[in-house]
């Protein structure tokens, strides 16, 4: 293995700046790493080697002219739900297997402005619906820490790729935990920004009131650097918020003295793995040693309703968003039908996988005449109560700390036939999307050789505080330095 692929963004940046390495060297090292481990990990749907090397040459020219930006010349993988002009964007679905977008998502434009190098597209649960990446229509991704285990999902490809050094960092998307849960399962850093913080333009829609794009990185400094690059208002996304973007890196090196951190007891749920619980307790004590004031007695009683709210709201929005896949405008199309309606029905029958169909059914039912009030409207009212509970908590605390997941990664196949069990693996992450607040997952220990994630929740548009807490914790621990043997 060429060691260059192990670099973080900030380490690579220093070497690029001093001309000790070139972007072409770094890009070749990550491409070699992909070739070396991909038959075990299966993190990538599409690898665009030629395009990446061309971008690396351009970045080298740009750097030689003294124009270095923090992401210039650094190779990244993009979750295959984010549109890339001229590079197929499949959402790991048969229905989009050959779809080539005519435009770049706003986040891709922003990375290109910084002369980032795009290595290709990473695997995911089909249309980001799932918690294990087993719902990819192409192949499941394997957890680099133990190949018999899932990497989490839906951004399992990006998270596995980053910890396996197949990319220096990745972009994921998070609707109910799809960045943080796989980051936790794979032992990397993942951040879901505040709703409206990062443009969703060019992100293939799953549940539009919950979706956000965010970074998956090897450490917290890298996470802050990627946030600097992708955050900000975009007129192409009407839910994007025009709120100033701070330099997130400048907040990292501040101690935790005076910060008030609450520990909501509802997140330490029944069925939680004992090892995860004790890892979290040790991690929280570390935050206390670092100067934070910890309140162990916080209660957010509506947390227990979040799972039901989520699995009504998200499938409802998904059923509307996925109505566009009709076999007419793009994507897979079943022509062997006698009418336009039958063609649509067959296109969707053969083009979508089981989990996507399950959610379309659930959402269509929840929105249908006679059931709208009982399900969707009621869920949206309980959502208001959940949001209010967080607003009240954040009057008292600067951040809340919870486990990212109640367990470490589970075995491939273990939950595939039991949708409710699969849904429960997001129980600690999905309330955050319902409330629209930011949260980061940071490595916080191991149980049986598999990583544990600590989740830090923050106030809306206050990513700097959760990054600061995550950074202080990371600097005081060694978890992020461990690497899986593949």
């Amino acid at each position: 293995m060429n060691k260059l692929c192990q670099l973080t963004i900030h380490e690579a940046h220093e070497l690029l700046k001093r001309s000790e390495i070139s972007s072409v060297d770094l890009t070749k090292a990550t491409l070699e790493r992909i070739a070396e481990v991909e038959d075990k990990i299966h993190a990538c749907v599409t690898v665009t080697e030629d395009i990446a090397l061309k971008q690396a040459e351009e970045a080298d020219g740009y750097i030689r002219n003294g124009n270095i930006t923090p992401l210039a010349g650094v190779p990244t993988l993009i979750k295959d739900v984010i549109c890339t002009a001229g590079i197929r964007t499949t959402c790991s679905s048969k229905i989009l297997e050959n779809f080539v977008p005519p435009y770049d998502a706003t986040v891709i434009k922003k990375l290109k402005t910084q002369k980032a190098v795009i290595l290709g597209k990473a695997n995911m649960d089909e249309f980001a619906m799932g918690s294990s990446t087993e719902h990819s229509a192409f192949f499941p991704t394997h957890n680099p820490w133990n190949l018999n285990y899932v990497p989490g999902g839906s951004s399992g490809g990006p998270a596995a790729a980053v910890v396996a050094d197949e990319a220096v960092y990745a972009l994921g998307s998070d609707t109910g935990g799809s960045i943080r849960q796989p980051a936790g399962f794979c032992g990397v850093v993942g951040l879901k920004p505040t709703y409206g913080r990062v443009s969703r333009f060019g992100l293939v829609a799953f549940a539009s009131s919950l979706d956000q794009i965010g970074p998956i990185t090897k450490d917290v400094t890298d996470c802050a650097l990627v946030m600097n690059a992708i955050a900000g208002y975009d007129s192409m996304d009407s839910t994007s918020v025009d709120y100033p973007v701070p330099n997130y890196v400048s907040y990292l090196k501040r101690d935790l003295k005076g910060l008030r951190i609450g520990i909501p007891r509802e997140y330490f749920v029944a069925g939680m793995q004992e090892g995860v619980k004790s890892a979290l307790e040790i991690a929280i004590k570390k935050l206390e040693e670092l100067g934070a004031e910890i309140d162990w007695e916080v209660s957010l009683p509506h947390t227990k309703y979040a799972l039901a709210v989520y699995y009504i709201v998200a499938p409802s929005e998904a059923s509307a968003n996925l109505a566009r896949y009709d076999g007419v405008k793009y994507g897979f199309s079943e022509q062997n039908a006698s009418s336009v309606i039958e063609a649509m029905e067959k296109t969707r029958q053969f083009g979508f996988g089981t989990e996507v169909k399950r959610r379309i059914m659930l959402g269509t039912y929840a929105l249908s005449a006679g059931y709208y009030d009982a399900y969707y409207l009621k869920a949206q009212k309980v959502r208001t109560l959940i949001k209010q509970e967080y607003e009240q908590a954040f009057e008292k605390y600067d951040a809340l700390v919870t486990p990212t997941s109640p367990t470490v990664a589970f075995k491939l196949g273990e939950k595939l036939e039991d949708p409710m069990q699969m849904y429960l693996s997001d129980v600690c992450t999905l309330p955050i999307n319902i409330a629209g607040i930011p949260a980061i997952s940071v490595p916080a220990g191991f149980v049986d050789g598999l990583p544990v994630g600590m989740q830090v929740l923050g106030k809306p548009f206050n990513e700097e505080t959760i990054l600061r807490i995550a950074f202080a914790y990371e600097q005081a621990t060694e978890w992020h330095k461990r690497k899986p043997e593949i």
Binding site: P102, G196, S339, V340, I437
Partner: protein
């Protein structure tokens, strides 16, 4: 809440989603189980609670009505499974 087979077929029709015989049987059981888990929401007092819409309170968002170039027709049609004379082609809609 138990779903009947007829309800599952009706919802699939609303979603224009073809389902195999196996899928109809499977979803009839699975969706009933999932809906049972939603009954927990009946415990919550939601009288006088307004429904949430988005996570962040944004009012109507406007921009200046300025024209800018659209994508070329060839780009828009590039992914179409069937096209003819610059149009998307579908099966006959009228008998």
């Amino acid at each position: 809440m138990k779903l009947s087979r007829q309800q599952v077929e009706h919802v699939a029709w609303l979603a224009r989603l073809g389902l195999s015989e196996d899928e109809i049987e499977k979803f009839t059981v699975e969706l009933s189980n999932i809906l049972e888990n939603f009954e927990i929401l009946n415990q919550v007092d939601i009288a006088d609670v307004p429904p949430a819409t988005h996570a962040v309170p944004l009012q109507s968002v406007f921009r200046e009505d300025q024209s800018f170039p659209s994508y070329p027709q060839s780009d828009v049609l590039a992914n179409a499974p069937k096209r003819e004379e610059g149009c998307f082609k579908v099966k006959p809609v009228l008998e």
